[in-house]
């Protein structure tokens, strides 16, 4: 299944809801759209809702890490609010949980970032 990304912008926070399968093929096209979107809207923080992401491999890790780096430069944070066990395992394996904030819901992620701002 192709990967669908739903983006929502609130102030300087970008919320991404990802759905389907995030592999190298999908990442290639999503990345450029995403960087454009982030630049254009002067995004500082990123919130990831991956609850409907059925599949991800290291290509997805690369995509998220890439965004993390630019977010970090801007002094922002990347918050993960939901992910399947398969995706969580990859995050764990690659040490992603050390750089991601984890929250239980989109709302809590927003309010936490609001506090950080």
């Amino acid at each position: 299944m192709a990967c669908k990304v739903e983006a929502e912008i609130k102030g300087n926070i970008l919320l991404l809801r990802m759905e389907g399968e995030l592999d190298h093929h999908e990442v290639e096209s999503i990345r450029s759209e995403l960087t454009q979107l982030m630049d254009k809207n002067e995004i500082k923080h990123l919130v990831l809702n991956l609850s409907n992401l059925e599949f991800m491999d290291s290509s997805g890790l690369g995509l998220i890490l890439g965004r993390y780096k630019s977010i970090q430069k801007a002094g922002g944070n990347v918050v993960l609010c939901s992910a399947s066990p398969q995706v969580k395992r990859l995050f764990e394996m690659s040490g992603m949980f050390r750089i991601l904030m984890v929250e239980l819901s989109e709302e809590r992620a927003f309010s936490r970032l609001g506090a950080v701002q």
Binding site: D23, L63, P85
Partner: protein
């Protein structure tokens, strides 16, 4: 029941999903758990992606070969390319090592294969190509609910 399947497909990124699907279909006959199936799909995705982006540097007119076999519930998956090969296999297999940080690769591919499978073997010759062979013992559904 033992079985085997070989296939060859073009080195286009669309075929990462196709390879995953073929692997999942092959394994499905052995009634794996959804977790095992997802592991299998992940490692096939890693190996095929490597063949396409590293082995063939993204050139689409090449072929990737995949062989799967099942013997006594031990699954063996071989993914082979005739691409540029790996100079230092050891180093390539290190966690977080990538030769393509510019492509936002994270260098986790081999580490993931290693973790999700029972065994991973990489044979490569620069200029000739790379063969990754992975094995995994599937649990039997009965064995789990003792």
């Amino acid at each position: 029941m033992n079985n085997s399947l070989t296939c060859t497909f073009k080195s286009i990124s669309e075929n990462e999903a196709l390879a995953r699907m073929i692997a999942a279909s092959f394994a499905a006959a052995y009634d794996p758990t959804i977790g095992e199936l997802s592991d299998i799909k992940t490692v096939v995705s890693e190996a095929v992606t490597n063949a396409i982006i590293h082995g063939y540097s993204g050139a689409e007119n090449h072929e990737v070969y995949m062989k799967m076999s099942m013997v006594e519930r031990v699954l063996t998956i071989e993914v082979r390319d005739s691409g540029k090969g790996i100079l230092e296999v050891e180093k390539a297999m290190e966690p977080l090592y990538t030769s393509r940080p510019d492509m936002e690769r994270s260098g986790m591919g081999f580490t993931i294969m290693d973790h999700f499978m029972d065994g991973v073997e990489v044979v490569s010759e620069p200029g000739k190509g790379t063969t990754v062979t992975m094995t995994k013992q599937l649990t039997s559904v009965q064995a789990e609910c003792h």
